[in-house]
Structures are given as C-alpha cells and as structure tokens.
Amino acid sequence: MTTYFTKDHEYIRVSGDTGTIGISDYAQAQLGDVVYVDLPATGKTLKQGDEAAVVESVKAASEVYAPVSGEVVEVNSALTDAPSTVNESPLDKGWFLKIKVANNNELNELMDEAAYQSYVKSLG
C-alpha cells in the first residue's frame, strides 16, 4: 500500500488496482470545520484532474480533483451525515471515494509522503 499526494492536497492510497481518495491533513486544517461533502455517483468515470467531489466548510468550498483516472467503485456515504470525520480522520475514516485505477503510470506524476511533506513546508 502506497500513498501518493497531489499539489492540490488530495491523496490516493493504492492497494492492488483500487485507489482510495481523500484530502490531506494539511488540507482539512486549511479548510476548517467541514460541514458538507458532495460525492460522485459510483460507476462514474473520472479522468485525471476531473472534479471528483466537493468539500465545504462554513466559509469555503473546494473541489476534490481525481489524482489519477479511473472508475468510481465506492463512496464514503458516512460522510454525508458526519462530515466532521474529514477533520478528525482525513487519511483514514475520512476518505471520500475509491476508484479502479485505469493507468498506473499516472501515479508516477504524484508525490510520495516525504515529497509532499516538504512541499507543504515550502508553503509556509
């Protein structure tokens, strides 16, 4: 299992051909209290960079983009009733969706944990 990150602060954790997508701890801290999450329909095909979900705090809304292409196989519908899970456990219970990764090569364009941490540091 490897976790990759994007510059837009999404992560994708890959296990076999399934990727679990969510937002990083840095992203949830920047957003503040998450109040609403809009998830895609399962079966939807996403291209890399497509809008996969929307996450809203009181004063901000941001799109969650697909880190890589693939078909949505599962969404975390528990977030609908408990959006605060994104704040409490962004990398674990607060995941947004799972996709069937279409092209493993796209993962190479992403950052690994260490690279992402130094990227976040560079943001100040």
Binding site: G32, D33, V35, Y36, E56, S57, V58, K59, P83, S84
Partner: protein, 522 residues
C-alpha cells in the same frame, strides 16, 4: 462539547453567562421568542369580518388543511418587532464602516417622497396616460445618471447590483452575437480581486472566466490585460475604484487595449460613489457599468435589500438594452415594453424596475445637486484617507502606504503572532459599540479589513473610531488576547456557531413533536 474554534456545539444552561436574571432579559436587551411560540392561530391583529361563502369559484381546489400560521394582536406585534429591532445595528446607531457597502446616511425626506400616493400607490400596468409623472421621474433620474457618468443610455430595470451585472453582460453578449462573433468570443477576463458576483454573472450566461492577476501595487496592469486578451475574449469586468480601494490608474490604456481587441469593457460601479462629480466612466472608455442606487445614492440597505442597479451603456451597447425603456412621443412619455422591432436582448423582470428606489435616489440627487454630490465624493475620500493617515503606524497595508479612494484596506500582518485574527478583532469592535469593517474581502489580501467611513461621519466621530482602533491594536499587540477571542461580550448574543448551523441546517420553526410521537420515533 467544544469545536475546533473553542465554541460550544451543543446548547447548555445559560448559567455560564456572568449574571443571570430570572427573565433572561438584560435591562433594555429583552429576549423575544418566535411568533410561532408567542402567537396563536385564532388571534389576529386585523379586524376582518368573517363572510359566509355560499358559492365557491375555486373549482374544488379549496385548502383542506390548516396553514399553521400564528397571529398576534397589534400591541403584541408592535412589541415583538420593536424588541427585534433593538438587537440590530444601523447607520443611525453609529459609524457603519463596511468597506464596499457604502453605508451612508439615509435621509428621511427620501422615504417621505417615495410614499407620496402618486408614486407609492400607482399600479405598474395602469394606463400610461395616468402615470406620466412617474415616467417623467424615471426619465429625469436617467438624465442624472447619464450626465454623471458621461454615457449614452441607461437601462433602468435591474433590481440590484448583480442584476445590473447580468444586464450589462447580456447587452455585451447581444452586441457580440449581432456581429456574428458569438461562437468565438466566449471568455471574460476578471481580476482576482473582483467581487464574487462578477465571475458568477459571467458564468451564468455561458461565458468562461479567465483570471487576470493584479500587480504588486493592488491594481491591474495593462501588460497583464494584454497577455490575457485574444480573439476569444468578449469582455473584461473591472471594478473601479477597485475592491482594494484604489483607482485603476491604467484604466484608459486598458480600455483602449480591450477595444482594440474587439472586446467590451464592463465596469463594476459598486464604488462609483468615490468619483461622482470628479470623473466620468464614459470618459474612461467604459461600455457598461451598473450603479448601486443603494450605495452611491443612499437608498436604504434595509437589512439586505431591496437594491436597485441601473446600468449605463455606451453607444455601442445602447441599442441592446432590455425592455421596458422610455421613449418620447410628442410631449408624452411611453414605455417600449416589447422586444419586437428592437435589438433589445429581452426582459429582466416583470414591470419596470424599482420605482420606490428611483424616487429615493432622485430625491438624494436633487438635494445634493451637482455641487453637493461632488463634495460628498470628496468628503468620502477625505475621511478614508484621514483614517489611513491616523492608523498607518499601527496597522499594516498590503500594498504599502499610499493614497486611497473612499475606503482604506488593511491586512492582518500587524496581528502576526498576537493570537488575534481579523475576525476576533472585528468582534472586539462590536463590544466598543462599532459595527466592524468588511473583513476577509477582497479575498486576495490575507485577513483583509476594508474600512469605508463615507461622507456622513463627522470628524469627532472619526476621531473616536480611530482612537478605539488604535487602542485595540495596541492591546492585541500587547498580548491581551481575551478581549478579542471571546468577543463580543456585550452584544445581544456571544459568538454564534456557524459550523453547527451549516452541518445540521435548521431553516424554519417546526411545531414541537408531541411526546408520544417523539418516543415512537426513537
């Protein structure tokens, strides 16, 4: 339970308040329930006879269930709303320095004029021969707006600023379509610092938005515009004076470049109040600009509307204005109400626009006159610069210390490491008896504080305001966090939990569930 901001997320006993009274009232601050809690279905504050309907013409579509509305008698109604009013801050209470909102004095003469039966009690569709005075008033207001802006025409019907943006951008779209360029010119340039309505309006009518970065000095530069221009660009939407309170110095060059590229220049006129009588948008190359009558010409904000947003248009766009508009036929004035036989892009709403606001705005303009309106702009700019000059040593300005227009912008750099945020600072101002300035707008400035005093403040009022802000800034820097992070302490409510409101929306009152039903549901 406390949330991440240290606010409570569940209701508990009022016991945490410092001194609890039996009634929960605090002298003049009286608690007031909802009308559904204090009123009754069979109580009314109007006396209407209960007629017996022997024949119904409703064709079997009569209401069968009770509505559930509560009524109050007249004295109870009066008390309910007076108590509510006492929980509100208005311009008449004190300085209301909301940047870009222009909270200037609302003269009561204007209210009186709008209520003359000849204006307030006329029907929009009664014969035009019976409302010639109303048409003349609209025509005269149009003349004032055209003269002040140096433009060709004005569309009077938009009902608010954002509605005016829609009108102006629709006229631009119609002009582009008339030239056969509708398929190719699909992009609208919008600076990062623009108000959110600008990109929202452009997107609403099918344009895509291309952001233009502002320069380090807070204004848009001709080079950035030129880089973004192309044959696919329909228009630029530029606010001037801009949302940072600065006049766009390169505006004429920008207008020329935009026109040379075959595009149009939409100016967001939200801040026109700074330059009335000092410069005319028509001379600056503007093709369309909305004017917020509720800002520049003081029609009351009324707790969030109604507004009015007439749009002045250049010669290139005038023919595309929406219906209805007024035409002179001999001595009489007449509405053109149909698009047929015109190039008009259509209709923005029912009837003819915000007549009640037109009367108030014209009353303002007649009262001020050419001289008074110029003076008002000058005093508005003078007051903002006076605040800037008196605060610049303690506060931080994102683009350096320089002359501003009618509003002055600070950021939160001066609060760095104090543990006090812009929001905390604003809430502490409430305890001092002031309405806070606009905060966190424009978005491009970190922790923005945008102060617009308007021309309605006396020097004494400004001096007290300045002294208070200085005291607060010094206190924040000295590390007295509690004055800020727990504020407001003395308002009718302490800080309200917006997270809770958004996570579990309660958007209306509902009758309490009978205990038996509630238990059954569990």
């Amino acid at each position: 339970m406390l949330n991440r901001q240290g606010r409570q997320t569940t209701p508990n006993e009022i016991g945490t308040a410092d001194h609890v009274t039996f009634t929960r009232n605090r002298a003049l601050q009286q608690e007031e329930g909802l009308i559904f809690e204090i009123g009754h279905e069979d109580v009314s504050g109007v006396d209407v006879i209960d007629v017996d309907l022997t024949t119904s013409k409703l064709g079997g579509l009569e209401r069968k269930e009770p509505i559930g509305l509560a009524g109050l008698t007249e004295p109870e109604t009066m008390r309910h709303y007076v108590r509510l009013s006492q929980k509100n801050y208005g311009i008449d209470s004190g300085i209301f320095p909301l940047g870009s909102c222009t909270m200037k004095h609302n003269a009561r003469l204007n209210e009186k004029m709008a209520r003359l039966p000849g204006f307030g009690d006329i029907h929009p569709l009664q014969p035009q021969s019976t409302v010639q005075g109303a048409l003349q008033l609209i025509d005269q207001l149009a003349h004032y707006l055209i003269t002040l802006t140096g433009m060709e025409a004005v569309a009077m019907t938009p009902k608010a600023g954002a509605h005016g943006e829609l009108c102006g951008m629709a006229a631009i779209k119609a002009a582009i379509n008339a030239k056969g360029e509708g398929a190719t010119r699909t992009v609208v340039l919008v600076p990062d610092s623009a108000h959110g309505t600008n990109p929202a309006t452009a997107a609403l009518i099918g344009f895509s938005v291309r952001a233009v970065p502002a320069g380090a000095d807070g204004t848009v530069h001709i080079d950035a515009v030129k880089a973004a221009l192309g044959p696919d660009v329909a228009a630029i939407m530029l606010t001037n004076p801009n949302t940072c309170g600065l006049f766009e110095k390169e505006i004429s060059a920008i207008a020329d470049a935009v026109h040379a590229a075959g595009a149009y220049f939409y100016c967001d006129g939200a801040n026109f109040n700074a330059i009335v009588g000092k410069a005319r948008p028509g001379d600056l190359g503007v093709d369309a600009m909305h004017i917020n009558l509720h800002k520049t010409f003081s029609t009351p904000h009324g707790g969030g509307g109604p507004g009015s947003g007439p749009v002045v248009l250049s010669k290139a766009l005038a023919d595309f204005a929406p219906v209805p508009f007024i035409k002179k036929i001999g001595d009489a004035l007449q509405f053109v109400e149909e698009t047929q036989g015109t190039q008009s892009f259509g209709r923005l709403s029912a009837f003819h626009g915000q007549m009640g606001m037109f009367t108030r705005a014209l009353s303002y303009m007649l009262s001020h006159g050419a001289d008074g309106m110029k003076k008002a702009s000058e005093d508005a700019v003078l007051n903002a610069n006076y605040i800037r000059a008196c605060l610049k040593d303690l506060f931080s300005q994102p683009f350096g210390d320089k002359i501003c227009m009618h509003e002055v912008l600070f950021d939160d750099a001066f609060l760095k490491d104090s543990g006090v945020s812009t929001l905390d600072f604003a809430k502490a101002m409430i305890d001092e008896g002031f309405h806070p300035m606009t905060v966190y707008f424009p978005l491009v400035v970190h922790g923005a504080m945008l102060i617009e005093p308007t021309e309605s403040e006396s020097k004494a009022s400004l001096d007290l305001f300045i002294a208070t802000l200085r005291d607060l800034a010094l206190d924040a820097k000295a590390g007295n966090k509690e004055r800020f992070t727990g504020a407001p302490y003395f308002a009718p409510r302490k800080r309200l939990d917006e997270t809770r409101a958004a996570r579990t929306p309660v958007l209306r009152w509902k009758p309490p569930q009978p205990i038996a039903e509630a238990q059954a549901a569990e």
